[in-house]
């Protein structure tokens, strides 16, 4: 018989620990295909299953279990399931077979033919015959899994068994130590509680669970079971708090545990108590309340650990929220005072435990721990609106009375602090207590500014506390009238505006205004902002104060969207009105720009539509008026004022931030008036000595207006590729710009033209049109040999390389050719610009405020930088090797370093070996920024791939670094000397001693000299490097 043979081989294999997968598959497939029946398999196993030898019986059951786990449901007939269940139930008393029987039953449990009655039979047998805790983990795990499956698939079975199930489970869990099993068991308990009324067995079950509290264990790293101590803690917490029957047993020991010395146990106890409020009855807590409040008070007063204090206060709040409920919950306006005194009569309110102590503290001659008292009162009051009323009624009259009676400032401050806490609870529950209305006048008096108290350091706490109180009164629902709110806001605003010795008051006041801006935006706009603007108009205002006011306004504007536009509008009006002292205009415009950038950056991921709306609104109000204002300013100003240029730059950046975020139609709408204004200016060539000429032949504009061209450039560059630029022929426009750029002597005009040309070409998707534009731009350069005719190619290369256009590389090759030519030997006039061309390579890849950046929708293809690196760097290397002219070599190194500087690290590390010799030559350069960049690149290679440099280290790198430390060489600026020290200090970390053994002495000598550098920063870095080298090789 085939089955018999397979079974025998399988059993022999089990004995030899052989791999039985193939045999198992054969058995399964023969049963699935119908060649063999399950019955035949059992018959074949007969001798094993009935054997007197325990191990043989176990093996027999294992074969059966393995096969059942692998069989599809259709291959196990209903009748077979019934027989198998009976068989397994009977065999559960055989301890050696239990592990495999459990896995077999788990396999059967997934079948639909497994009935609820079977589940009951199995559970009865399991609870009766198997002592789960005597088995190893895998078996225990299978047993818990079995229970899980029964609860999930046959909840009726659990319901029917009722108490028997609960008892059986409790016995099964008793003594469990493995955190993995515990985690599963704890998660099972709430499910059981949901199915069965555990009333009669609650104590048994609770005893088994609660003995684990507080649970801690350390999980090993890379533990595959992946149970975190935190998840186990939460599972236990849920188990303990899942039933109301546990309340009477759990609260007392938990309260006891809250007094534990271990911080984690303490917090766990508090959090579990708070979690218990969901299911436990309020009576359970009431019995222990006095002890608990005492414990919480002790922790809040004494504990230095913030998390303990917070856990304690949260617990207090949760418990009070369940144990005191107004008699008639529907009538929330019921008078709490009447209820306490009238309905409850002599019985004390549970809040008395908190209130008595608080009243005692508040009436003491010297008030101590006002903050802690306040915190406890706040936690109690926050628990419900009803409790808030009780607390307020009990405390506020005492504070008011005492405030009237005392003049001692420290006592007043402490009282105010407590009052603030109580008021903040009122704000949180959004209901004001009755007594507040009665005491309104007194409360206002308490917080009334007292001009007799000097605004200096000693009293700053008093001022801050007062300001906080005023804020709370403002936030209280329906407490202050409109006028009163205005007065309150004015008080806080003045505190923020008026500078005094103690900056904390200013800071706190600003912070409070930011808080208030969320709930009272209208009043902030109507009351607070005018005060700030008024303060800024002061002609004698100091620079420091302006920056303080601008920062405060910026923060208030950013905090609430409804205030943002009024703030920015107000600031721009201030600038435009001319009331602001000229030196402060730039700071103000700069703040406007920063606020806009911050706001649009934050909402980048949020609602794009609202972001676009906001930007459109800002363009209409703020940007427009600022642009007009600066236009007027430029008309009036004498030639080339730097102040105007700086203002224009700030406004241009604001234009970029807003314009780039609106749609193409709105962009086109913005552009058309702009072009009307600036078109002529942009196309008019200025050059001294000769008469200025307009490419359009139109009217002439004063040259000072050219300082405004960045505004046009920023707007053009911010557009989407599909935005319509309002010119009749774009190619013609670009060509004219090129003529202007080549001939103008005004740098702003030249740069703005370059930026626009590059951006327009980059965003032109039609290849032919692009080609035509490039041709038109380059055409005038044929008759021109100025520096601009070289730079324009850098900009073209930037536009084309970023979109992987091959024409861009042709221009780059042209530039490389120029860089490789020497001015002395080349007949071309342009050769004199070879050094400049090399230095300007950074234009191609470097950063720019708006021209061809991803923020301004430029077409930047992925891998464009990689492609540039892979194409250009080998060219530079080859040219370097083939020339012997020093100047050319220097030029090439400059170009290489400028290229590498902007490469992402991942790109650079690919094929870096070929560049290293050149980089080392670049360290010899006289241009300090390139020298520093080369050393930085070497350092980066040292970090990322130290082996690449190992051979070069002693013969060339270290000597070059040591030469870079010399302060008598002008090329070795502070930056160069510092990066050289950094590179040196990295060597002991990255290489083993034998590699650099020979260099140790010269390095130490050079570093000793560098320790006496005349710059402090170099000395610090040299000392760090020296100490690393000193201990290098010791161990």
């Amino acid at each position: 018989m085939v089955v018999q043979r397979l079974v025998d081989a399988y059993i022999i294999g089990l004995g030899d620990n052989a791999n039985n997968t193939e045999l198992l598959q054969k058995l399964i497939s023969s049963i699935t295909s119908g060649d063999t029946s399950l019955l035949e398999l059992v018959q074949a196993l007969g001798s094993c299953l009935a054997s007197e030898e325990a191990s043989r019986r176990s093996k027999g059951v294992q074969v059966l279990s393995d096969v059942l786990n692998g069989l599809p449901e259709s291959s196990i007939p209903m009748q077979a399931t019934s027989r198998l269940v009976q068989f397994f139930c009977a065999r559960l008393e055989d301890a050696t077979c239990v592990p495999h029987i459990l896995t077999a039953i788990n396999a059967l449990l997934r079948m639909s033919s497994f009935t609820t009655q079977f589940a009951i039979d199995v559970l009865n047998a399991l609870f009766k015959e198997v002592h789960v805790q005597s088995f190893q983990y895998s078996t225990r795990s299978a047993a818990y899994q079995l229970l899980e499956l029964v609860i999930q698939n046959h909840p009726e079975a659990v319901k029917e068994m009722g108490s028997d199930f609960v008892l059986g489970f409790a016995q099964m869990l008793d003594g469990e130590k493995d955190p993995r099993s515990l985690s599963v068991a704890f998660q099972t308990i709430p499910k059981i509680v949901a199915l069965v009324d555990i009333k009669s067995n609650a104590e048994d079950l609770f005893d088994v669970i609660f003995c684990y509290f507080p649970i801690t264990f350390k999980n090993r790293e890379n533990d595959p079971s992946a149970i975190s101590p935190e998840s186990l803690k939460i599972a236990l917490r849920k188990a303990i708090t899942c039933s109301s029957y546990f309340g009477s047993m759990a609260v007392k020991p938990l309260v006891d545990k809250a007094s534990a010395t271990s911080i984690s146990a303490k917090i766990d106890a508090y959090e579990t108590l708070a979690a218990g409020t969901l299911n436990f009855s309020s009576e359970d807590f009431k019995i222990q309340l006095e002890t608990l409040v005492e414990q919480i008070r002790e922790d809040v007063f004494m504990s230095s650990d913030e998390s303990v204090v917070n856990a304690a206060l949260d617990t207090l709040e949760s418990i009070y929220s369940v144990i005191i409920l107004p008699k008639d919950t529907s009538d929330t306006s019921a008078d709490p005072a009447a209820m306490v005194d009238g309905d409850e009569g002599e019985t004390a309110s549970p809040l008395d435990y908190v209130l008595k102590e608080a009243v005692f503290q508040l009436t003491a001659e010297e008030i101590k721990n006002s903050e802690q008292t306040g915190k406890i009162l706040r936690a109690a009051a926050r628990s419900s609106a009803y409790n808030c009323s009780i607390v307020s009624d009990a405390v506020i009259p005492i504070i008011v009375e005492r405030m009237d009676a005392t003049e001692v400032l420290t006592v007043r401050r402490e009282l105010m602090d407590v009052l603030n806490h109580v008021l903040s609870a009122s704000c949180d529950v959004a209901r004001k207590a009755e007594c507040l209305e009665a005491d309104k006048i007194n409360l206002l008096n308490i917080y009334r500014p007292d001009t007799s108290i000097p605004l200096d350091k000693e009293y700053s706490f008093l001022h801050i506390t007062r300001l906080k109180g005023i804020t709370l009164l403002t936030l209280l629902p329906a407490f202050l009238s409109e006028d009163e709110t205005a007065v309150a806001l004015q008080t806080i605003a003045r505190a923020s505006i008026e500078r005094n010795e103690e900056e904390n008051v200013n800071k706190e006041a600003t912070h409070l205004l930011i808080q208030l801006s969320q709930s009272k935006p209208e009043q902030i706009v109507s009351v607070v902002l005018p005060l700030f603007f008024e303060a800024m108009r002061d002609k004698l205002i100091a620079v420091q104060k302006v920056s303080h006011l601008l920062n405060a306004l910026g923060a208030i504007g950013v905090s609430a969207s409804r205030i943002l536009v009024p703030v920015l509008k107000g600031l721009s009006d201030l600038v435009v009105s001319g009331e602001l002292a000229p030196p402060h205009c730039l700071a103000t415009v700069s703040t406007i720009r920063k606020v806009i950038e911050a706001v649009v950056a934050v909402s980048k991921d949020g609602n794009k539509e609202s972001n676009a709306d906001l930007c459109a609104k800002l363009i209409g109000t703020v940007i427009g008026s600022l642009s007009d204002w600066v236009y007027g300013l430029a008309q009036l100003s004498s030639n080339g004022e730097q102040a105007v240029s700086l203002l224009v730059l700030e406004i241009s950046r604001a234009v970029v931030a807003t314009l780039s975020r609106i749609d193409e139609i709105s962009q086109a709408e913005y552009l058309s008036p702009l072009f009307e204004k600036y078109h002529g200016i942009a196309l008019q060539t200025y050059s001294p000595g000769t008469a200025s000429a307009s490419a359009d032949g139109g009217d002439m504009y004063p040259s000072t207006l050219c300082h405004l061209l960045p505004l046009l450039s920023a707007a053009v560059c911010s557009c989407w590729p599909q935005t319509k630029i309002p010119v009749s022929d774009l190619s013609d426009f670009v060509g004219k710009l090129s003529v202007v750029a080549l001939n103008t002597t005004l740098q702003e005009q030249r740069d703005a033209s370059f930026e626009m040309i590059a951006s327009i070409i980059n965003k032109t998707s039609d290849a032919k049109q692009r080609e035509d534009m490039v041709r038109r731009v380059l055409q005038p350069t044929e008759e021109c040999d100025s520096a601009a005719s070289v730079l324009i190619r850098h900009w073209l290369a930037r536009a084309l390389v970023s979109r992987n256009d091959k024409a861009g590389y042709e221009i780059v090759y042209w530039l490389l050719e120029l860089i490789s030519s020497s001015s002395s030997s080349s007949p071309s006039q342009l050769a004199q610009y070879s050094t400049m061309a090399a230095e300007s390579i950074s234009i191609v890849l470097g950063d720019h405020d708006w021209s061809i950046t991803s923020a301004t929708h430029a077409v930047i293809k992925v891998l464009s930088k990689q492609r540039f690196y892979a194409t250009v760097v080998p060219q530079i290397t080859t040219r370097f090797k083939s020339t012997d002219k020093e100047q050319v070599k220097t030029n090439l190194l400059v170009a290489l370093t400028s290229t590498i500087r902007y490469m992402p690290k991942s790109v650079l590390m690919n094929g870096v070996e070929g560049v290293i010799p050149l980089l080392l030559s670049a360290i010899r350069l006289t241009q300090s920024s390139l020298k520093a960049a080369s050393i930085r690149t070497i350092t980066m290679v040292m970090i990322e791939s130290p082996d690449t440099l190992q051979k070069e280290l002693s013969p060339s790198i270290i000597p070059l670094l040591l030469l870079s430390l010399a302060q008598d060489n002008l090329a070795n600026t502070v930056e160069v000397r510092r990066v050289a020290c950094d590179a040196l200090s990295l060597i002991p970390e990255k290489y083993i001693y034998p590699v650099v053994q020979s260099s140790r002495k010269p390095v130490l000598r050079a570093l000793i000299a560098a320790r006496d550098d005349h710059k402090r920063l170099v000395r610090q870095d040299a000392t760090k490097a020296y100490n690393k080298w000193l201990s290098f090789g010791d161990s």
């Binding site: 600026t973 502070v974 402090r1016 000395r1019 020296y1026 100490n1027």
Partner: protein
């Protein structure tokens, strides 16, 4: 030296208030020289670890910025330190750590004096003599065990 038994096992630990100085524009200007000052020297020694505790000399107020005196033009440095208790037998070792740290960090032109602050140690004179005697310092540094202890204390100061 037996350091398993701590001389002062519950020292007062102070909150560290000093922070690194702000970097100015002039720090990168080669035309401006930065003379060595007390703040720079204090920066070198404040993070040295105490031999007994995992705390820095700054946290224990053994060293103090006000007790570092530097005259760059005269090439002189004077450091006064305050042992945590008057009978501290670690005073000489702490002084030695400070000396070694400065030997390895300050320009070689400086002459460094290290003293126990007046009235803070019962054998003040003896410790001062020990710390400022070149030969005794050199001999101490030849003791490899002692050097190991010093290097451990200095490991945090780099």
């Amino acid at each position: 030296m037996n350091i398993t038994q701590k001389i002062n096992d519950a020292p007062l630990v102070y909150e560290v208030v000093s922070k690194a100085r702000d970097i100015q524009q002039s720090d990168f200007d080669d035309a401006v020289s930065d003379p060595v000052d007390s703040e720079e020297v204090y920066e070198l020694i404040r993070n040295i670890n105490d031999p007994e505790h995992p705390l820095t000399l700054e946290q224990l107020h053994v060293t103090n910025k006000e007790h570092v005196f530097v005259d760059d033009s005269a090439n002189r440095v004077l450091i006064e330190f305050t042992p945590t208790i008057p009978h501290c037998s670690m005073a000489a070792l702490i002084g030695l750590c400070i000396r070694v740290r400065l030997l390895r960090s300050l320009p070689e032109r400086f002459k460094v004096d290290i003293k126990v602050r007046e009235g803070t140690h019962q054998s003040e004179e003896h410790v001062n003599k020990q710390l400022n005697d070149k030969e005794r310092v050199a001999a101490a540094l030849e003791n490899t065990y002692l050097l190991d202890v010093i290097n451990q204390c200095l490991a945090t100061a780099v």
